[in-house]
């Protein structure tokens, strides 16, 4: 029951507009950016002396010898990474949910989620490279290699290492979304019923729980698909270069001194967008087909299922995926202190703090910039989210499921398709290259995540506390600030931590909105990736990981300290 709060202060007049404002902040730039990409793609950009529409840029694009390979690569890596991540997540949930191992997996989630994509990719690169840790650990006693083998593992033309890099990061994200979905549907009851009817646990889960869970995580899956097809930073680190993926090639064209290539770049961005939309449609069709087959499978009533092997397989895969990140970070740690380190030594010949000392001076301004951008964009996102949720409460402005789609717009429309357009617009309107622009763009990506993490706990809050407070004479604002928000301290801090981590991980938005002048840990780390000295990369990637991880630690410990005298709130 929404409480009646009809006051007329300025703040309460603003509140009903909050959802609209939030949507505008999130979706407006995406629409503007897509237009800024579409128009030059069809040849119209008066500032570059072209004021008629045409298909020239597309002709050039399809004449480029690499277009087929780059496009195919974008689709195959995206679909493979998404399908593998989804498969792994559902197998883990089907085989292990409710067990003790599952609670350990749950606890590992936040730290794994907070590791930025670029840092995870660097770590993985060092593990699986022919000169990496795995090869070192098994050489020469097992493999007989006294020099790294000439194997094309990183930057392989099929993008396999790129897929691996995406999977290790998307599994924690999809798992988190699945866990949230599982709490919203009653699963134990249906599963128990199915078990009582003689279905093995994994089969029971797939037949009774999965269809409802998938309906809930469909949008996050689409977001993962769109992201994986168009990612730039991970692709720069792990992806092939002859040719590179389409998104990386677009970035090259957009940065070429020959400005006429911007038409080509825009056309390629439109093509990339079309590829994403096409792939999403195919994915949807595949959903329908699988659902139809699945229904036959469910109604057939077969009781078969290899529970034990699925349990073993999924746990192994989960451990592999998590260890790729954990050992990757560990490898970075060792490299950051390494002296000369030859192959196939498992550890460096000597340890030194020199790399850290050398970079301490350069790191500080970059860390400060990163933290300022992350804090401000998270704060804005948090305030807008709370305003929306409170407006929903007071004015009954509950978003329809269609509005929820809008929340995913910035996550599904590929960054490369609208950020390049935004950059074109920004340059030709003369606003660009400062911190404010970067923060504004970060808010677009931080907001959906903050909203998604905070909405459920906020709505689940027991409103009887509010009634009691009102009865004791508190106003609506009093209830919000003095009762509800303090009680929701932990979820608010967690949502902030998620937002913080998202902001820190942003590469393309920072690069394009900041015109290269705003340097964060991520842009520095990826710029240095081209440099190749693993020690320096390690220093930056670790700093990046630490900056993203810290807020999660705060979210865990601060409520314990603040509520040390309120036992019931510590685990709220």
């Amino acid at each position: 029951m929404p409480s009646r709060c009809e006051t007329t202060t300025a703040r309460s007049r603003f509140l009903p507009w909050a959802p609209l404002l939030t949507l505008g902040i999130m979706v407006g730039p995406v629409v503007a950016g897509v237009l800024g990409t579409l128009v030059p793609a069809f040849g119209y950009l008066p500032a570059l002396g072209s004021d008629s529409f045409g298909l020239n840029a597309f002709v050039l694009l399809f004449d480029w010898p690499g277009v087929t390979r780059a496009s195919v690569l974008s689709v195959t890596t995206g679909v493979a990474a998404t399908a593998l991540s989804l498969l792994l997540v559902t197998l883990i949930c089907a085989a292990w949910s409710g067990s003790r191992a599952f609670r350990i997996i749950e606890r590992m989630l936040s730290p794994l989620l907070s590791v930025p994509h670029a840092a995870a990719a660097f770590g993985l690169a060092f593990l699986i490279a022919p000169s990496g840790w795995i090869a070192r650990a098994t050489s020469p006693w097992l493999t007989g290699w006294d020099r790294p083998p000439d194997l094309l593992i990183l930057q392989d033309p099929l993008g396999l290492s790129l897929i691996a890099g995406l999977v290790v990061k998307e599994v924690p994200f999809l798992l988190l979304m699945t866990l949230a979905a599982l709490t919203q549907i009653r699963t134990t009851q249906t599963r128990d019923t199915a078990l009582a009817l003689g279905y093995p646990p994994v089969t029971a889960w797939f037949k009774t729980v999965f269809p409802r869970v998938y309906a809930q995580i469909r949008l996050p899956v689409y977001a993962v698909l769109a992201f994986s097809m168009t990612v730039v930073d991970v692709s720069l680190i792990l992806g092939p270069t002859t040719p590179s993926t389409l998104s990386v090639q677009i970035l090259k064209w957009m940065n070429d001194p020959d400005l006429s290539l911007r038409f080509l770049g825009s056309a390629a961005a439109v093509w990339q967008l079309a590829l994403v939309i096409g792939t999403l449609i195919l994915w949807r069709l595949a959903e329908v087909a699988i659902a139809r087959l699945g229904r036959l499978w469910v109604t057939s009533g077969t009781r078969g299922g290899a529970t034990r092997s699925i349990k073993a397989l999924s746990l192994t895969a989960a451990i592999l995926s998590a260890s790729a990140i954990v050992f990757g970070i560990l490898g970075l740690l060792v490299w950051s202190f390494a002296g000369f380190w030859s192959f196939p030594d498992l550890l460096p010949g000597g340890f030194t703090t020199r790399t850290w000392m050398r970079h301490a001076m350069n790191l500080w301004p970059v860390i400060t910039e990163t933290l300022i951008i992350a804090s401000v964009s998270t704060l804005i996102a948090l305030l807008l989210t709370l305003a929306c949720l409170e407006a929903e409460e007071r004015h009954g402005l509950k978003p329809s499921s269609r509005a929820l789609w809008l929340l995913y717009v910035p996550l599904i429309v590929p960054q490369i398709a609208f950020l390049t357009g935004l950059q074109t617009l920004a340059i030709f309107t003369g606003i660009d290259g400062n911190r404010t622009a970067v923060i504004a763009v970060h808010v677009i990506f931080v907001l959906p995540y903050v909203f998604l993490s905070l909405a459920d706990p906020f709505r689940a809050w027991d409103s009887r506390y509010g009634h009691v407070a009102r009865a004791l004479g508190a106003g609506c604002d009093g209830v919000l600030w003095r009762v509800r928000l303090p009680m929701l301290l932990r979820p608010i801090l967690t949502a902030a931590a998620v937002g913080f981590a998202v902001s820190i991980g942003q590469f393309l938005p920072t690069l394009l909105a900041g015109a290269g002048r705003v340097q964060t840990l991520t842009t520095e780390a990826v710029a240095l990736a081209s440099g190749g000295d693993r020690r320096v990369i390690a220093v930056y990637a670790l700093s990046q990981t630490a900056a993203a991880f810290l807020p999660f630690a705060v979210a865990v410990f601060v409520p314990d300290i603040v509520w040390r005298n309120r036992r019931g709130l510590r685990h709220a």
Partner: protein, 401 residues
């Protein structure tokens, strides 16, 4: 309204034009520079170089009150693109780029399109000591006259380095290199063009195979491109399958090559800094069995420059930084193998005794060739050759197998 705007704009432009710093009045320049922030767009992929640029920033801050911000690029073309975009958008003052580390085709492009401020270089105090006679590359950038639009600050020369533990006598001709690669597949590579070092490898090879070297000094359109490059492409077609990863992947740049060398993936590599191997050994990045060598045919040499875009926001500040970079103090620091090891552009004979002592005190690194063994410097081909080679290379090897 429109007329009013135009008039205002014209006034602003006039004021801006009147306020351009004049390097012949150096005191006024340093006065104006105090308090300015200079955004120096420079390739940021090398830790060694970034540290040196950081040191420059510290020194000009102390000495002249100029704040230097290093905008780290992965490719200089990004800065050129930015200035060009600003010009196209009509942003003729207050641009985002104050100074660019530049040479070759990027300089040629900016000069051709009137994107550079100047001439300013030859009126600066530090210019007096530059060795114009001994190092003609300081006024001729890939054959294009600099005309005082860019200030030289370091001399680079191609060398190769190899691991003596794995390779006794390194190949000193391109033919011998191809033979070595054929006999030891996967043990040689070069950075992927259009990376400048990768393109330099192409040019270094082209010089050995072109029937008449003189055609390279003129724009590529004036030569019979097919005839000039036929042998060179035949060589590259033979070499590519024997490269590291069979030529299906390439390192992005020289730093990545160093890592490959340290890991023992490759036996020899190209470099544009005679001191790079020594420096990497000193930093613990390379094994100390690495040494340098040069090709019998000689090796390409060029100069690094800084230029100021026509619409730069802090021109006076940029000049002060450039002038400091050409000072004996900064040049000796740069040439120190412990710091970077790039050769100076100065004529040591013109320096005072104290300043010369700074250079005399520098010791050659363990893997650095003495000047007499470095041998003759070959001139860079006209920049249009590099552009053409890069395009053709990408079509042949860069997009599909």
């Amino acid at each position: 309204m429109r007329r009013f705007l135009a008039a205002t704009l014209a006034t602003f432009t006039a004021v801006a034009a009147a306020a351009e710093p004049d390097p012949s009045n150096w005191e006024a320049v340093t006065e104006e520079a105090r308090g300015q922030t200079v955004y120096w767009n420079a390739w940021g992929g090398s830790d060694t170089i970034n540290t040196f640029i950081g040191w420059i920033g510290d020194r000009v801050g102390e000495e002249y009150g100029v704040t230097l911000e290093h905008v780290k690029l992965s490719d200089t073309a990004e800065a050129v693109s930015r200035v060009l975009a600003e010009k196209t958008a009509g942003k003729d003052a207050g641009g985002a780029v104050d100074m660019i580390w530049i040479n070759g085709e990027n300089f040629a492009a900016m000069k051709r399109q009137d994107l550079l401020f100047g001439p300013w270089v030859e009126e600066m105090p530090s210019w007096a000591n530059v060795d114009v006679e001994g190092k003609p590359a300081v006024i001729s950038d890939f054959t294009v006259p600099t005309d005082g639009l860019e200030a030289p600050w370091g001399m680079a020369q191609v060398v190769f380095y190899y691991d003596t533990a794995r390779l006794d006598t390194p190949p000193t001709t391109m033919e011998a290199l191809a033979d070595y690669a054929a006999a030891n597949p996967g043990r040689f590579t070069y950075p992927q063009p259009p990376n400048f070092l990768g393109s330099t490898f192409l040019k270094q090879a082209l010089i050995e195979f072109v029937p008449d070297v003189s055609v390279l000094q003129a724009p590529v359109d004036e030569a019979d491109y097919e005839a000039a490059t036929a042998e060179f492409w035949a060589f590259l077609d033979g070499l590519s399958p024997t490269l590291w990863r069979s030529g299906r992947a390439y390192p992005q740049n020289e730093s990545r090559q160093i890592q490959l060398m340290a890991d023992g993936e490759i036996d020899l590599a190209i470099s544009f800094n005679p001191n790079e191997a020594s420096n990497a050994i000193a930093n613990g990045q390379l094994q100390n069995s690495v040494r340098s060598f040069v090709m019998d045919a000689g090796s390409i040499g060029n100069a690094s420059f800084v230029a100021i875009p026509y619409n730069a926001n802090a021109k006076a500040g940029a000049m002060v930084v450039a002038n400091f970079m050409m000072s004996p103090e900064a040049q000796a620091m740069m040439q120190d193998p412990e710091v970077w090891g790039l050769s100076t552009v100065l004529d040591l004979a013109k320096l005072s005794e104290d300043d010369r002592a700074r250079f005399d005190a520098l010791e050659l690194g363990i893997a650095t060739l003495p000047p007499e063994e470095l041998g003759a410097t070959l001139s860079e081909p006209h920049p249009s050759w590099m552009v053409r080679l890069e395009e053709d290379w990408t079509d042949r090897y860069g997009v599909a197998q």
